[in-house]
Symmetry: C2
Subunit: 280 residues, 2 copies
């Protein structure tokens, strides 16, 4: 990797038709300095509200599948990597961008000798993705609205009154208690209410309550996976979330591998190579 | 019942110290017309933010327990019915007002001959209560943040973009599909995302999505109860919610009894009789 550039410009900050201008504003300098270099884009840029809608590739899908389905905006020069869709019991699920991160992580962290054995990865976030990989292909995945639920409950629900303005440092004891509680019968909608009652009974306060809420939600995500005991999980997460998932997975008995934070770039490079847009 | 009076004045609309004035404004006319009539109050009026904090009575608790623990503001004249608390696995839960409704429902709908057998009641709402009654006493209960979660997801989450401004009439097919989906593996945080993906794939839209979201949340509430097949459930609900719970419970194989809508008044009367504040 030679350089990176980030800008706080989410999907909704770009007006309709404004994508070419936004791209030029952010990356025009690079393109002028390196004429002819092919460009791949992944993520919500390929959604219905993005630059152009790149139809989802269907699971199971490997690197070659998404490389074959690149949406070329400028032939040989500028393309969007398609997202993936899968169906379980007739209900669709989708991802955009995470497929590239998963394939990048697999470049950096090749699976052990039994590469054909199914392996689980989690990409935590606003909409966490749990991904099953088998033989180098993504066979199925699930989205969980964990991060969004945390933000809504944290800021807008009756629980918000009990919580401090800032989360503060993670209270690991309270977080672990939340993860453990989520494994008990009762269900998420019930367990969440304990953030209120523990405060009412002066059993917890401040940052401990925010950590407990986080543990309840991440613990619910793990509970719902019903992973076989001992199954290893690869975590692709930000520095803020990785320790929480690592801790929760370990508490539930799962060995954890942390993926490197350059998985996205490794994934884009791998797609480019398979697509033949790079000779090296 | 001789008369009722309702006013849209929730807990947060009464300023600190403003409870006597609010009571006088709403009910002063009645008190002047019927001097000496004892008054019982139930619900959030007895919370820490209410008129005065009435300490929770601990489960198991029957009519006589809450009658013994009335918080008298004016001896013999004005009292607050205490709420209940219970603990499960060290985590507290609380109710205020629902205990009075439950005892009122049991006045109107006596349990069948085997009155000592445990019976389940549900009081749906912002914070739904699932209540176990045994031998005329509330033995334990669980709060579920179902109504609040619906409002937050409906209005504030990414799902809100897919939903119409008004829920419209219940789409029973979409509601039933949501209830059924909630019984499948995956967990609530995952199932919720289907409201988005079904819209993305043009599989549902408008009121059907709102009904599906409602079915997912109510279905999750039922799933979490893990009720024995065939166990009857008594529903104490508003006219808006009763048909949804009735439908969801029936789909999960539970016979349903609907409690009358005067359960609160029947409950207050029963408490007054047991407390001896009424001779009749």
């Amino acid at each position: 990797m030679l350089a990176t550039h980030a800008a706080p410009r989410g999907l909704l900050s770009v007006p309709p038709g404004g994508w070419p201008a936004a791209f030029e504003a952010e990356f025009g300098g690079w393109l002028a300095a390196h004429p002819g270099v092919p460009t791949l884009m992944a993520g919500m840029v390929g959604s219905r509200q993005g630059w152009a809608e790149a139809p989802y590739a269907a699971c199971p899908a490997g690197l070659s599948d998404i490389a074959q389905h690149l949406l070329w905006l400028q032939p040989g020069r500028l393309a969007i990597v398609p997202g993936l869709c899968c169906h379980a019991a007739g209900v669709p699920d989708v991802m955009r961008g995470e497929e590239t991160q998963v394939f990048g992580a697999l470049q950096a962290l090749p699976l052990p000798s039994a590469a054909a054995a199914p392996h689980t990865l989690v990409l935590p976030g606003t909409h966490s993705k749990w991904v099953q990989v088998d033989g180098g292909r993504i066979t199925r995945f699930q989205t969980h609205m964990t991060g969004e639920a945390y933000a809504l409950l944290r800021q807008q629900s009756i629980l918000a009154r009990m919580l401090p303005a800032d989360d503060g440092d993670l209270d690991v004891e309270a977080f672990d208690a939340g993860v453990a509680q989520a494994q008990q019968p009762g269900g998420l909608l019930h367990h969440l209410f304990s953030v209120r009652t523990l405060a009412l009974f002066d059993r917890a306060s401040g940052p401990a309550l925010a950590s407990r809420l986080s543990g309840l939600l991440i613990g619910e995500e793990l509970r719902a996976q019903a992973l076989p005991a001992g199954q290893p999980v690869t975590v692709l997460a930000s520095a803020a979330l990785a320790p929480r998932y690592q801790r929760a997975l370990a508490a539930c008995g799962h060995p954890v591998r942390l993926a490197p934070d350059d998985a996205t770039w490794r994934g884009l490079l791998a797609v480019a190579r398979v697509a033949g847009t790079l000779s090296a």
